[in-house]
């Protein structure tokens, strides 16, 4: 289906939480310039997958490759290698201001100008953050925090951007905007995006390809437009015909 | 059995470990010597040492353990506080204890019940005696009429010395300004600044060596040069802290370092441990305690606590390394123990005279 070399490739990834096996040998490929969505029910292991790629939870087995090279195990090395994550539940640095949070996102970047221009871009994407520049992140509204988390992940200028439920807690209008922006970012900058979403319909509309995960295993894979019309997917994740 | 066990309580850890560790070594020198000379009535002596961390609660547990192991006589327990905490236990178990430095009269004499604590003895001079001698010497011999005194409000012995110093000094017509501090303090500049302002001609220090060293040093720093007179908390280590600022200072002490008997003990120490002793008073005092005990064992002929206690009580004219011991049965103090005044000059202690109050 795609003859480009895969940029991010996950091979046979396993993660355990004590006795619970949260990922059972997951395979996934993201090709350069693609948006790939992962959909699945609560507890299917989506966040675990993201965290395992980022080295935030230990991998019990399997490997992750970026551009054919084995990805290191420690989060900070993974970030430098070119992957960044907007985590589930935002995880903004509450006692830091919005600007400081964004600066943290740009930690691997050395050049100050670059950081500055990147921040401009984020502010253009989320004007609300610009208004709240010097406010402590902990006092932002839920949606504002979500914007900050996405903005922070963009600041690292990643080759692959991981988004864990970016629409969580966002107003419909903002979701539409963000998804539009993501399409733009993807199209203009060619940024590769791996997204986990509960709003499966939107995710499928946004992405080129998608995976369906169920209790720690990939059960389906395909072009998003195909999955959108797949009977099973429709029933299980899209909430009937709407 | 063929050995007699003697218990020993010392601060092997904690702030008092400087003295505690030396006391154990001093006692060991004596035990070796006694055993080499055939022991006591043909029995060898064995020293059992437990740490008391310098704290009452530990000394009690350690003493209970010694008693439990069947030990009938104990040396050590440095402070009056410890000894007073131990007294009821010793009495119940009928095990006598000879303390090196419990100098508070109340350690061996129960003031409330107005009777001697039957199982507690000491070899050092008491605080009243130190205080009186120091006041007397300062006023009469050194001719200083106004003195400043820094005392540790939390220390049994410092307070005791202070009380009797003030009593004697004012009785003689002198004037004393006294300032308190608390054990553990390291900065005395506030007190010294005030003391200096009174125009006192002497700084009197019934304290431990660390405090005295710091006081001497800080007084010099403030540009104050009074006559210095310290108590028996002296240690050579002070010199390291205070350096030459402590030159010409006077010290009231239990023993004369230049005494040849004392020197003999220290020589044995050096031979056994291959190093010079650090705290001569501690070494010699513990050494003498062992001799006092072994003498009592010899005379008692029986090795139960009560007999040993009776023998200790009736000790007479026993020549120890640093003095001639006759135990006062009414107070369990050495009878008429002379105090020595020494002077410190460029890193050395010199004998000045033995002072008695008339």
């Amino acid at each position: 289906m795609n003859n480009r070399a895969s940029l991010l490739s996950v091979n046979n990834l396993t993660v355990n939480y004590g006795a619970i096996q949260a990922l059972k040998g997951v395979n996934l490929d993201v090709y350069s310039g693609e948006i790939v969505a992962v959909i699945g029910a609560n507890g299917a292991g989506k966040s675990t997958l993201m965290n395992a790629i980022m080295g935030a939870v230990p991998r019990a087995g399997g490997e992750v490759f970026l551009d054919g090279k084995l990805l290191p195990k420690e989060s900070f090395n993974i970030v430098s290698a070119g992957i960044s994550l907007s985590p589930e539940g935002r995880k903004v640095f509450a006692p830091l201001t919005v600007i400081e949070n964004l600066n943290m996102g740009a930690f691997p970047i050395k050049n100050r100008e670059e950081i500055y221009s990147e921040m401009e871009k984020v502010f253009k994407l989320f004007p609300r953050l610009n208004e709240r520049k010097t406010q402590y992140a902990g006092t932002l509204s839920g949606g504002e925090q979500q914007m900050l988390a996405i903005g922070r992940a963009l600041m690292a200028k990643p080759r692959v951007l991981l988004l864990d439920e970016p629409s969580l807690g966002l107003a419909p209008i903002i979701i539409s905007e963000i998804f539009k922006e993501l399409t733009e970012i993807n199209r203009q900058l060619g940024m590769t995006i791996l997204i986990v979403e509960q709003n499966a319909r939107k995710a499928l509309l946004l992405s080129h390809r998608a995976y369906v995960i169920q209790t720690g295993q990939m059960i389906m894979e395909g072009n998003s437009s195909d999955l959108l019309h797949n009977k099973d997917v429709e029933e299980a994740y899209l909430g009937g015909n709407r | 059995a063929d050995t007699i066990k003697i218990g020993f309580l010392a601060s092997l850890t904690g702030e008092g470990s400087t003295f505690g560790q030396e006391q154990v070594r001093g006692a060991e020198v004596a035990i070796d010597e006694i055993n080499a000379a055939g022991g006591v009535n043909g029995k060898q002596l064995e020293l059992i040492v437990y740490d008391d961390r310098g704290r009452q609660e530990d000394v009690i547990v350690s003493a209970r353990r010694l008693i439990d192991e069947g030990i009938q006589v104990i040396g050590g327990a440095n402070s009056s506080g410890m000894v007073m905490a131990l007294a009821p236990i010793l009495e119940k178990a009928r095990v006598p204890l000879v303390s090196p430095f419990a100098s508070n009269p109340a350690a061996t004499f129960d003031v409330k019940k107005k009777k001697v604590r039957p199982y507690v003895f000491r070899l050092c001079a008491t605080d009243p005696w130190h205080g009186t001698v120091m006041a007397d010497y300062l006023f009469k011999k050194l001719g200083v009429k106004t003195a400043a005194l820094l005392h540790d409000v939390g220390s049994e012995s410092s307070e005791g010395v202070k009380q009797f110093f003030v009593e004697r000094y004012t009785q003689l017509g002198g004037k004393v300004f006294s300032y308190g501090y608390r054990s553990g303090d390291v900065d005395f500049r506030a007190q010294l600044t005030k003391a200096k302002a009174t125009g006192a001609g002497a700084l009197v220090m019934p304290s431990m060596y660390k405090e005295m060293g710091l006081m001497v040093k800080q007084a010099a720093e403030l540009g104050w040069k009074p006559a210095l007179l310290g108590g028996d908390g002296f240690s050579m280590t002070m010199y390291e802290i205070a350096g030459d600022t402590m030159n010409d200072s006077y010290w009231s002490s239990n023993m004369d370092l230049e005494d040849k008997n004392v020197q003999a003990v220290l020589a044995k120490y050096e031979k056994k441990f291959g190093a010079k002793e650090a705290e001569y008073t501690s070494v010699v005092m513990a050494y003498d305690i062992m001799y006092a005990i072994s003498d009592a064992l010899k005379r008692a002929g029986k090795y139960d606590g009560e007999s040993i206690k009776n023998a200790l009580e009736s000790t007479k004219n026993l020549q120890l390394a640093h003095f001639n011991l006759t135990m006062d049965p009414a107070t369990h103090d050495p009878l008429a123990k002379p105090l020595v005044i020494q002077q410190f000059r460029s890193g050395k202690m010199y004998y000045v005279e033995t002072w008695t109050v008339k």
Partner: protein
Amino acid sequence: MDKEILRLEKVNKSFGGVHAVKDISMTIAKGELTAIIGPNGAGKTTIFNLISGVYKVSSGDIFFNSKSLLRFRPDQIVGMGISRTFQNLRLFNDASVLENVMTAMQQQQKYSFFEAVSHLGRWKNKEKATKERSMELLDRVGLADRYMQEAGTLPYGLQRRLEMARAIALEPELLLLDEPAAGMNAEEIEQLNQLILKIHSDFNLTILLIEHHMELVMKICPHIICVNFGAKIAEGTPNEIQNNKDVLVAYLGEDD
């Protein structure tokens, strides 16, 4: 008109320079199911925080069953019959699912300190009741099979359900739900709709909820209030709201 249960009168709240809630007035009738919608940062959560006593109002007044809430501490307000869930989950993560619910349930099953240290008197019955009723409740929200799991290790969606269960366990008259559907997929939201409707009728509750998922709001809430920049911009039935120009511009977007 039904009997009113909650009334906000010209409520204001500022944080330094941020005027988060502006002159909001609203009335909620007993038994109603009402939604508050509005863009991010519009002040919705702040309204909840004011009602539940987390923040003190800057001006205005809030009445619950005709009694002003301003003088009361959060725990007293809970005692009066208002409970809530949190937008950012606030579960006892290390405690088990069951224990989370029991902690709330026990407010209805009190016994004295003496009974507690002696296990005499009411202790046994009350403890039993607390546990049984908590299990029942867990069963209702679909968490019964996970009752021993540590709450913090539940997947996000289930944590939200547990929060609801905990709030219901307080047996409130008025239940405040802050984005109950966040992190759920369409299918799960459908289930949640059923759940909310069911508890609404089973427990005789008045529910006020904040949501961004219109498939929930429009379907189950006959009464919707829309706020923007801290002020109320619209109020009405789903139909009215969906066709309100201001709401469309500020919040819903021109549809996709």
